[in-house]
Symmetry: C2
Subunit: 394 residues, 2 copies
Amino acid sequence: MKDKAREIGIEKVLIIGSGLMGTSVALALKHHDIQVFLQDITESAVETAVSRGAGEAFNPAIHGEPDLVVVAVPPQEVAGALEDALRDFPHATVTDVASVKVGPSEAVEALGDEAAAARYVGSHPMAGREFSGAFAAKHDLFIDRTWVIMESPQASEEAKSQVKWLVSACGAIPLRSTPQAHDRAVALTSHTPQLLSTIMAAELLSVQGDELAISGQGLRDVTRLAASDADLWTGIVAGNATEIRPILESISDQVLGLIAALGDPDTNSQTSDGPIHELIQQGNSGRASLPDKHGGSAPEYALVTVVVDDRPGELGRLFAVAGEAGVNLEDVRIEHTLGRLTATVELAVNAASVGHFEQVLADGGWRVQRVVTDTDEATILPASTYESQSASEE
Amino acid sequence: MKDKAREIGIEKVLIIGSGLMGTSVALALKHHDIQVFLQDITESAVETAVSRGAGEAFNPAIHGEPDLVVVAVPPQEVAGALEDALRDFPHATVTDVASVKVGPSEAVEALGDEAAAARYVGSHPMAGREFSGAFAAKHDLFIDRTWVIMESPQASEEAKSQVKWLVSACGAIPLRSTPQAHDRAVALTSHTPQLLSTIMAAELLSVQGDELAISGQGLRDVTRLAASDADLWTGIVAGNATEIRPILESISDQVLGLIAALGDPDTNSQTSDGPIHELIQQGNSGRASLPDKHGGSAPEYALVTVVVDDRPGELGRLFAVAGEAGVNLEDVRIEHTLGRLTATVELAVNAASVGHFEQVLADGGWRVQRVVTDTDEATILPASTYESQSASEE
């Protein structure tokens, strides 16, 4: 397979750490025109990765110096592994895939070696599985996932382009950031949700009798992350304590405010003017602010808005049209506008049936106002990717 | 359709409140040999429900007194609606489907009317949707979902059997409880997860720039509940404040403990002996304590344990056997036991392929130790259902 790798100087990639991430990177690189080598302090991890066809066990005496080194070790060991790699392979570009980026970046800076710093570009693929280890690795783990690449004024153009190649070769979407901005962002969007999920799940240990028999999907969703590996997450959380603490302090204030509101004999605190209602509405807004497109779980509904005469029977007639057209209505919201003889009806339908439904409505003389789909709004990611930004700079 | 309804005295069911729950109950009862009537203070809600074939708009002058009344109104209005129903229909059995049960129960007790109390049996179907209103109603909303029925020493046998019929007619699984035990259980398994999800989502409003671009499925899971209706949930939370507060106080302590551990210069707090690791492990245990069977999302894996000789190549040979047998291995855990020449390998495979895989392994001379499936362990619900308990009592 013809590949860009050789053009930018990559023939040999060494992956240090044969866990879920390292082995998945190796598997993703399998069909590129390069050699992939594996190394791990645990021999059986390398054996498992090799048995899955991820590459060859690395032997420096035979294989020589790699061009690109990917450090994929547990969080506590990243700094040491980076130092070793930069020293042992004095011409290689080195990246790591750790979930926290300020620590590794400072560790490289602390070496006081400009040449080494020029060869280091940290990165973080936003992907994972509920299982860990080489065996859980998947060649498609990174496809269409965001992979954050650190901006570093010290890094050479060659190192940057090699790490960018790695991200693209794994099928991921590159996103630029700085170590500080990255760590603050993951504290908010990944580490704090992890810890709240953990705290909620830990609370379940206070269960009395059969209480969990009535637990439903909501509890299951909130506590899914709580199943995460304790060793890995202790390392991640400890490594990003600086960014996580202020967010937890803010959350602590919210919890205390809620406890106070729930104990307030003034019932205003519990009405639609009160603090509980306000908090739930803020939660509604926060949830709605999540980008839809790359989540995978948000239903892909589209809203079709129809203006109807505000009189009995019109709604039933409209529903009948949808039924006859074979369009499944998921939700409907009706707004009666004061002083007008028309009502606005929003119909939530499967995004795929919008075009057909619009046509049927227009043919039947219904006034279709506009169509908004989730997909139209989901532009936040493409607008901020590495690719689109660098296109305007280069 | 022949039905048990008439045998236990139900010909007419009145559903008060044509929202998601009320209309779904009405739709579920459609194919039973009874008349279903609908009532709501909002005329368009009844119109929508009727247009969906849920039943007839209730007219007491024409339809007379119902035999069973289902109160399905917003939480703040339940107590009043129960009083009205017990007064207006002096021979009817009355139930409600509110998410909190001590309040309604106390409201009925406060009437000081033993005959009325004998006709009231509170209940709570554990089902919902992300949409609300009559239009979002589904005839199969309750199928295989738990529906809690209150034990009440005041209630007549007739009233109890009629509410139990309602639950079965909707396809739900009846589970007995008391108002106090129910409210404590939902505080832990439903209301607190809701509030933590809300608090996490509200925190996202502090987002800076494009930070949400790197949000993933974990954040999405944790904040899914945060999209819930603010009016409805203010009512639910306020109505169960007594049970929610102590749980939130315990969670507040956990959050403060975590903040302290993250700020602790003693790095022990951040190692596998420290409080962060301990909390995450407690979360692991809490999550693992959830019943699997009725959740729908937990993967139905089974573990096949094989004892292999502890030497290079054995693992690869085992994986090859799985591959040839067409068995997809989801995970593998290997334990090398000190001082023994064998290792124990746990293979996680799709539950459906266990029998086949076991046979293949046995035929090939592999030592299969034991098989544990998730399904074997998921007995908590059947053992505590209304049906199985009452079978031994009646």
